[in-house]
Amino acid sequence: MVGAWLVGTVAETRKETSTGRSILLDVPDWPGNIAGQHVDVRLTAPDGYQATRSYSVASAGDGSRVQLAVDRLPTGEVSPYLVDDLMTGDLLEVRGPLGGWFVWKPEQTAPVQLIAGGSGVVPLVAMLRSHGASGSTAPMQLLYSVRAPHDRFFADELETLGNVTYAYTRAVPAGWPSPPGRLTKDALAAATLPASESPAVFVCGPTGFVEAVATWLVELGHEPGAVKTERFGG
């Protein structure tokens, strides 16, 4: 049953950025998941107060190991605990895998354009991993909008996972051909598969980023139904 809460044990945590880290959980009853799905994480205070938030799963496929990646929101109720306090061996309540819409399955053969804003890259990393593990021959590429090079989640792995283009908004690496700045419609068009190739497009990031990108994609000729979006907030 989807709605059941499961108890996972933290197997490993890894610092990904100055404000984010990945968390590897052992969840004995985990049924496996499709790339792009999420979990709800529930924290319970000693006085019984509970807070629940959704986090994307970075892993995909079978097995009982589930990887999350979380960015700390300064005013958040749950993310500061997950990023700063949670330790190996701790128990964590999760419910999932959740969501069957913002997902990519290896049997999908259309070209795929992934577009991430900040930590919105997490479910898209799951799609790149699933794509690689399945030997899929569908073209898949990622446009990753991120503040600065040191803010990239899974930076080393993305180098090996394939076709990734970066759009830096605050700081660029030495020798980068263009200054940092917010993603524009022209830059989006230049860095993504054109509508003429009828790609499946997945956009994940903060609400403002997702709405701007989704609007531009439709203006660039993409079918609204081919553009799937997932927003995250505080």
Partner: protein, 85 residues
């Protein structure tokens, strides 16, 4: 949090009530008649719950409210819900 999220975030809460994944369910807006998957709806945090609005017209589709351990879902703005492959 003032910015809205989207229907994807309702997958967990709605699993309390429905067996199927409701983010892929198709709903019809009582106000404008738009027919869309629930994942595309606009979801506003209204602790202890959520207000879910039509992505086309902005009218309220449903509200979810936690009353202690009980979840109450008001479906006043949805005139049809369809699930299945």
């Amino acid at each position: 949090m003032t910015e809205h999220l989207d229907g994807n975030v309702l997958a967990g809460p709605l699993s309390e009530l429905f067996r199927d994944d409701m983010t892929t369910a198709i709903g019809r807006c009582a106000h404008c008649g738009d027919v869309s998957v629930l994942a595309t709806a606009l979801v506003y945090d209204a602790a202890p719950g959520w207000c879910v609005r039509c992505h086309a017209c902005g009218d309220v589709l449903m509200t979810l409210v936690w009353a202690g351990d009980r979840l109450r879902i008001d479906l006043r703005g949805v005139t049809a819900l369809e699930v299945g492959d």
